[in-house]
């Protein structure tokens, strides 16, 4: 097995375990067949095209398999059994990751109060409400939503999505918020 085949085999981990147990060997064999034929052709670009197509194909089909698995397990016959099963599948690591925005805000508030002060001190107002606090509250609500989604997720993939799509943007917003407040204040002067 050469490096390309090994790399493809490693990338197949993006698919759910249940799907891999059924089709991983066939997918590896088929990919190897494609590479063999590409190498046998006289086209120097054939191998990169096969690799690129397989990679893009993996990016588009693996998430769908996870979502199909989510849909299939969303109609429990025995809620208690599924609750236990869901807890078993949920990764504590991803749930902890989604709580990072809260940790970040607390750490910044304790270790760098000067950094976060602009959020509280004379912020510009939105409809009478403090701008910085509104944005902060909204961000932390989104972070809380991420924690909830990760906690209730039945697969690590969904928990990871919650972290990437909710927690990471919130952390970026928390870090940038004081600077944004200062910029807005300066523009208002």
């Amino acid at each position: 097995m050469d490096r390309i085949e090994r790399a493809y085999g490693w990338l197949l981990r993006a698919y759910p375990a249940s799907f891999r147990s059924e089709y991983e060997m066939e997918m590896r064999t088929t990919f190897r067949d494609q590479l063999r034929d590409a190498r046998a052709s006289e086209d120097a670009g054939a191998v990169p095209v096969v690799v690129a197509r397989a990679f893009v194909d993996l990016l588009t089909t693996a998430p769908v398999q996870h979502l199909r698995k989510e849909r299939l397990v969303s109609q429990p016959v025995d809620p208690a059994a599924v609750a236990v099963g869901g807890a078993a599948r949920r990764s504590r690591i991803f749930v902890a990751l989604t709580a990072l925005p809260f940790v970040l805000w607390v750490v910044l508030s304790v270790l760098a109060p000067g950094f976060v002060d602009p959020v509280y001190q004379n912020p510009p107002a939105i409809a009478g409400l403090p701008f910085g606090i509104v944005i902060l509250a909204g961000s932390l609500l989104l972070a809380g939503l991420g924690v909830l989604v990760a906690y209730r997720a039945r697969s690590d993939f969904v928990a990871l999505l919650a972290f990437l799509l909710l927690s990471v943007p919130v952390m970026a917003a928390i870090i940038l918020l004081p600077a944004i407040i200062l910029i807005v204040q300066n523009l208002a002067v």
Partner: protein, 112 residues
């Protein structure tokens, strides 16, 4: 007239590629490429996720693993259409025929 929803493009091409024969995954890939003149080249992900769905819906069935004498000694899983799969393909062809007939007068420059 069929009341089943249209198949996805990948599913239809896979069913047509299998046809009356028994084919393994890579042979299905090559057949799809052949019948579309290279316009459609399936990758393993699309191929096997679609095969999984076709198996679940009973349109194809799995056969015993055996090597392909034209390739190597690797044992490969073969697939063939079920009677239900053949019926779905027939219905899909009928649907596409109607679509083609509706479009031909103006899409082909008015030629019949």
């Amino acid at each position: 007239m069929s009341t089943s929803p249209p198949l996805s493009s990948a599913a239809l091409h896979i069913l047509v590629a299998i046809g009356p024969d028994e084919r393994h995954g890579y042979a299905i890939m090559r057949q799809v490429e052949a019948i579309t003149d290279g316009a459609i080249r399936l990758a393993p992900g699309t191929l096997y996720t679609t095969i999984k769905r076709l198996l679940e819906t009973g349109l194809i069935e799995e056969l015993d693993e055996r090597p392909d004498p034209g390739l190597d000694d690797e044992r490969r899983r073969y697939y063939r259409l079920t009677p239900g799969g053949r019926a779905v393909v027939a219905a899909e062809i009928h649907r596409l025929d109607r679509l083609t007939a509706a479009a031909r007068p103006w899409a082909a420059g008015g030629r019949t």
